[in-house]
């Protein structure tokens, strides 16, 4: 009796070889093609996708330095209003006027103690910061007439403080301000003199911030940071969560137990404390640090979900069938099961991007986020909270508005993506 192998092997292979080329065929649309078709029919999804894509293009251009490269230059007067509002009322004393307002408003609105101490130091530091990049990167000093505006400020402030403060505190503040102001004067004077004194514009398309930096450029730069952090951190978290979830769900037993312990420990620590701890361990403040922090703390949700998916799929018949034909564990895990759950991963990734953009904003707002020389939506909002007291709303509007647009578009896109990938979720088909 001839066994099966012989019979099949004996069949002429040559006969069928040309057949393969002759067959007219169209490769049937796979999951992704079908999902894309469904997505394309969803008008809302396409609009949000276009918005998200525009933001990402912007991020890339900004990252490459094509746009908003000179965001740190102080192109306008400080707090220059948006063009459509016209320049401030007192053009001769563009800088002095608002400064008086600052301390007045602060003195009225908040306990004198706080604002009095914080304001001048903040200013000085900020001025330092502002001049830093200007000094390093550009020789044409945009901060050229800085001394012109720093001096009167300091004077006014000192007067005010002298008037309102207990002598001890005033002295303190004066002492701490004085040396810094000197250093600054030196720096500014060093390069400022040569450059034209009147390059700073009274108005900018969407206003300027405290130091006269263009809010639009700043927002673009801030978007770059925030979107990059969101995307990169979501990628890290999804990668960790997927790999660990796959291992736990597929192997089960002690692997699952161990990873679940790990997961439980991670998720039992309050989120912010964990972030502070990771930040302390990493010992370095930078954009990548934030990515790592968010990535290392944000994988838990993905882990649970992917673990559950693997648990479900590993007992499916097609995986058993793969076992029966001799597929290895790795092959079953990643070649067989993964394509079947990849849509879950993608949706999770999409959800996490939105969540992490928000997390980055919150962290930066609280001061745990990006370092001070990097601008992000969070740091812009942080600055904006003081400005708002002065009625300088444009930085808040720019950062908050762009963030709202992106987050909303991204969330809508995520929803549409989930529906497109799993049409069963959207109402049963019934049969």
């Amino acid at each position: 009796m001839s066994s099966a192998p012989d019979v099949i092997a004996a069949r002429p292979a040559a006969r069928t070889a040309p057949l393969r080329r002759e067959i007219p065929h169209t490769v049937s649309p796979g999951l992704w093609t079908l999902a894309w078709r469904r997505l394309r029919r969803d008008r809302l999804a396409m609009v949000s996708l276009a918005i998200v894509a525009a933001f990402i293009v912007l991020m890339i251009l900004s990252g490459l330095g094509a746009v908003a490269k000179d965001w740190a230059q102080e192109v306008g007067v400080n707090y220059a209003p948006p063009s459509f509002m016209g320049p401030d009322a007192v053009p001769e004393a563009p800088s002095g006027q608002p400064r008086v307002d600052v301390s007045d408003a602060a003195a009225v609105a908040a306990p004198a103690d706080d604002t009095g101490v914080v304001d001048p130091i903040g200013d000085v530091i900020a001025a330092l910061k502002g001049s830093g990049p200007a000094a390093g990167a550009t020789s044409s000093g945009a901060a050229s007439d800085a001394p012109g505006f720093v001096d009167p400020l300091a004077d006014v402030m000192k007067e005010i403080e002298g008037a309102r403060r207990p002598p001890a505190a005033a002295g303190d503040a004066a002492k701490s301000v004085d040396p810094l102001a000197d250093v600054m004067k030196d720096i500014e004077a060093g390069k400022g003199k040569a450059a034209a004194a009147d390059t700073r514009r009274a108005t900018l398309p969407f206003g300027a911030d405290k130091w006269g930096r263009d809010v639009i450029a700043k927002t673009i730069k801030g978007s770059e940071t925030s979107i990059f952090v969101g995307l990169a951190a979501a990628f890290v978290a999804t990668l960790i969560g997927t790999v660990l979830g796959a291992l736990a769900g597929y192997y089960g037993r002690w692997v699952d137990d161990a990873l679940n312990w790990f997961y439980s420990i991670f998720s039992s620590i309050p989120y912010l404390l964990l972030i502070l701890a990771v930040a302390a361990v990493l010992q370095h403040k930078g954009t990548m640090t934030i990515v790592l922090i968010l990535g290392l703390t944000g994988w838990t949700g993905v882990f649970r979900l992917i673990r559950a998916e693997y648990l479900k799929h590993k007992s499916r018949e097609y995986v058993q069938a793969a076992d029966a034909i001799g597929a290895s564990n790795a092959r079953r895990m990643f070649k067989h099961i993964f394509p079947n759950i990849s849509h879950v991963v993608l949706v999770q990734l999409s959800i996490l991007v939105v969540a992490f953009i928000k997390s980055e904003v919150i962290l930066s707002f609280l001061g745990f986020g990006v370092p001070v020389d990097v601008v992000s939506w969070g740091s812009m909002l942080n600055e904006a909270q003081n400005e708002l007291l002065l009625g300088k709303w444009w930085q808040l509007a720019a950062a908050g508005g762009t963030m709202a647009v992106l987050v909303t578009a991204f969330s809508l896109f995520t929803d549409a993506l989930r529906d497109a990938l799993d049409p069963k979720l959207k109402g049963g088909k019934g049969h």
Partner: protein
């Protein structure tokens, strides 16, 4: 709620006229599920709606209750479902809700999923009574115990507080029936109520439905794909195909002298217990008008002789599962105990038993998809159960398995070409990708699929075609032994016949040995040379298939064989 329906004598209970239902698939395409059918359900009788999947039988029954999903269902405005002078097709939703469960009620296929697992069965029955009969708690409970007793649940006073998971599948279906008849409906719709059940339980449930129908003088609309089941209980038979009625008439006439070719085909393509034709007739033969009557086909002889060479010899196979109990403890459950048998080359060993008998576990253990607890399986003189996974690898391809559900056993993200070439890739069969592809094309041809299938995804195929793909996948590895685990159970009868014919052809051509696991005794009788009956993990009886069906020795086997639906028997014989 409303006035009870008064029916003039002689008028049918339900009159369906020109029922036309479509489903909107997307913005531009509508699938016509039911294409303008008309039929009557007379008072106090059982009407069977028979058809294969996609025939529109379930859609019809759901339409009567208004249970079709409103968002994508299009019911033709000319459709009429007249019940007690009202058109159910156009009745407002709240009036339909009042009818559901009280005057028209329904039993579904899967009792496990139709009962809510977090409520006791008593609560679920009482809920119906409170809703439709305005009963108080105590009254409802009393009535619930009554109906539970009526459907044959032992100790109903105690069982009423059980949760569905504490009951067996048969008992759960009885609870579903109790729920359905609690309000004494005029029409009971039973949608494949026995398909998910074992053959012995199926018989009990069929008897129960028949008895309740007589007792309560209600009408039953019985929906099934299995003509043999229908023969047991129906007065009237309606045969549907592709949304149209092919034939209707009294059961006796439909079974004895079917007029429609499709009905004839349905009756013929199911293997019968009496004869074993060389090939089973398939629907296409009948539709082409070139069918041979099954009685005229030559018979195939089945059976093993002691001198046939043994390919696999299983000795004292045992498999235990351990359920975790408490923190460190575990409870042993012996799924398979002390199973020994010989599989002979080129022959088929049928493995029959009810659910939980361990028949699937035997197959899984031989494939080493589960590790055996005890025992040996000698293949070419070597114990494949004692090998390390590495040693087992070359043997793995020699024993292959075809699973029950062709919808689940093919990876939905692979095209057929990938599905077929992957096993060859793993086992190094074929020198190049081209060679493997050629072999795949050849196998597609062998299992009767067009070559373009190579580039398609599994979801583009019907159940029978998918099972062919699964068979082709096994054949890529040139196995010696093929384990068929309920491989034809999920298929329509006509497709089942095609797949059974294919399996027989392949066996003849390649000398394959099959272990054919099934709960369907008629199919096993047809395809097996030797039959092994299992119960609760142990072998009850093992013998040549003709011998076991003619002269079962063990009482359990006798009971099992007695439960097989025999098709239509005259009314006198039934009662």
């Amino acid at each position: 709620m409303n006035t009870p329906a008064t029916l003039p004598a002689g008028n049918p209970l339900v009159r369906v006229r020109n029922l036309r239902i479509g489903f909107r698939l997307d913005r531009h395409t509508v699938f016509d599920a039911v294409k303008g059918i008309s039929f009557d359900i007379p008072c106090n009788s059982t009407v069977a709606l028979v058809g294969e999947s996609g025939s529109g039988k379930s859609v019809t029954s759901l339409a009567i209750l208004g249970l079709l999903p409103p968002e994508n269902t299009l019911v033709d405005p000319g459709s009429e479902i007249l019940y007690a002078g009202r058109n159910l097709a156009t009745l407002p939703r709240n009036e339909l809700v009042a009818l559901r469960g009280s005057e028209i009620s329904m039993i579904f296929q899967e009792p496990m999923t139709s009962l809510n697992p977090v409520f006791t069965v008593g609560f679920q029955i009482e809920e119906v009574l409170k809703l439709h009969r305005d009963m108080t708690g105590n009254q409802a409970r009393k009535r619930a115990i009554e109906v539970l007793a009526e459907v044959g649940i032992p100790e109903p006073e105690r069982r009423i507080d059980y949760f569905p998971s504490q009951m067996s599948g048969g008992q759960q279906q009885r609870v579903m029936i109790a729920m359905a008849i609690a309000c004494e409906p005029k029409l009971l719709i039973a949608d494949e109520p026995t398909t998910a059940l074992d053959v012995t339980i199926q018989k009990q449930i069929l008897d129960l439905i028949a008895a309740l129908q007589k007792k309560h003088q209600m009408s039953v609309l019985f929906i099934t794909h299995d003509l043999a089941v229908v023969g047991e209980i129906a007065d009237h038979v309606i045969v549907m195909r592709n949304g149209e009625i092919r034939e209707e008439g009294p059961a006796a006439q439909v079974f004895a002298a079917p007029r429609d070719t499709y009905t004839q085909a349905l009756l013929q393509c199911r293997p019968s217990l009496d004869r074993r034709p060389m090939r089973l007739p398939v629907i296409d033969d009948f539709m082409d008008g070139q069918a041979l009557n099954a009685a005229d086909l030559p018979e195939r002889t089945r059976g093993v002789r002691p001198e046939d060479p043994v390919v696999l010899s299983v000795r004292n196979l045992g498999k235990s599962f351990y359920a975790r109990e408490g923190l460190f403890g575990s409870r042993e459950f012996k799924a398979v105990r002390n199973v020994s048998f010989d599989l002979r080359r080129g022959k088929t060993l049928g493995l029959v038993g009810e659910s939980g008998s361990g028949k699937t576990t035997v197959g899984m253990t031989l494939m080493r998809l589960h590790e055996a607890t005890t025992g040996q399986a000698l293949f070419e003189g070597k114990d494949i159960l004692a090998m390390t996974p590495r040693q087992f690898m070359p043997y793995k391809r020699r024993i292959q398995i075809i699973f029950q559900n062709p919808y689940a056993s093919l990876n939905p993200r692979f095209i057929v070409g990938q599905i077929l070439t992957e096993p060859m890739e793993i086992h190094g069969i074929g020198a190049s990708a081209q060679e493997r592809a050629d072999l795949a094309f050849e196998l597609l041809d062998k299992v009767g699929l067009p070559e373009v299938s190579f580039y398609k995804y599994p979801h583009e195929f019907s159940g029978g075609q998918r099972q062919r793909i699964a068979i082709a996948r096994c054949l890529t590895l040139k196995p010696d032994i093929l384990i068929c685990d309920e491989s034809v159970s999920a298929l329509d009868v006509s497709v089942q016949a095609q797949v059974l014919n294919l399996l027989q052809d392949l066996q003849q051509e390649f000398g394959l040995s099959y272990i054919f696991i099934s709960h369907d005794l008629a199919v096993v009788k047809y395809i097996a040379d030797e039959v092994m009956v299992m119960n609760q993990g142990e072998i009850v009886e093992i013998a040549n298939s003709d011998a076991i069906y003619r002269h079962p020795r063990e009482p359990y086997t006798q009971r099992l064989l007695a439960s097989i639906p025999r098709g239509f028997r005259p009314a006198g014989a039934r009662a």
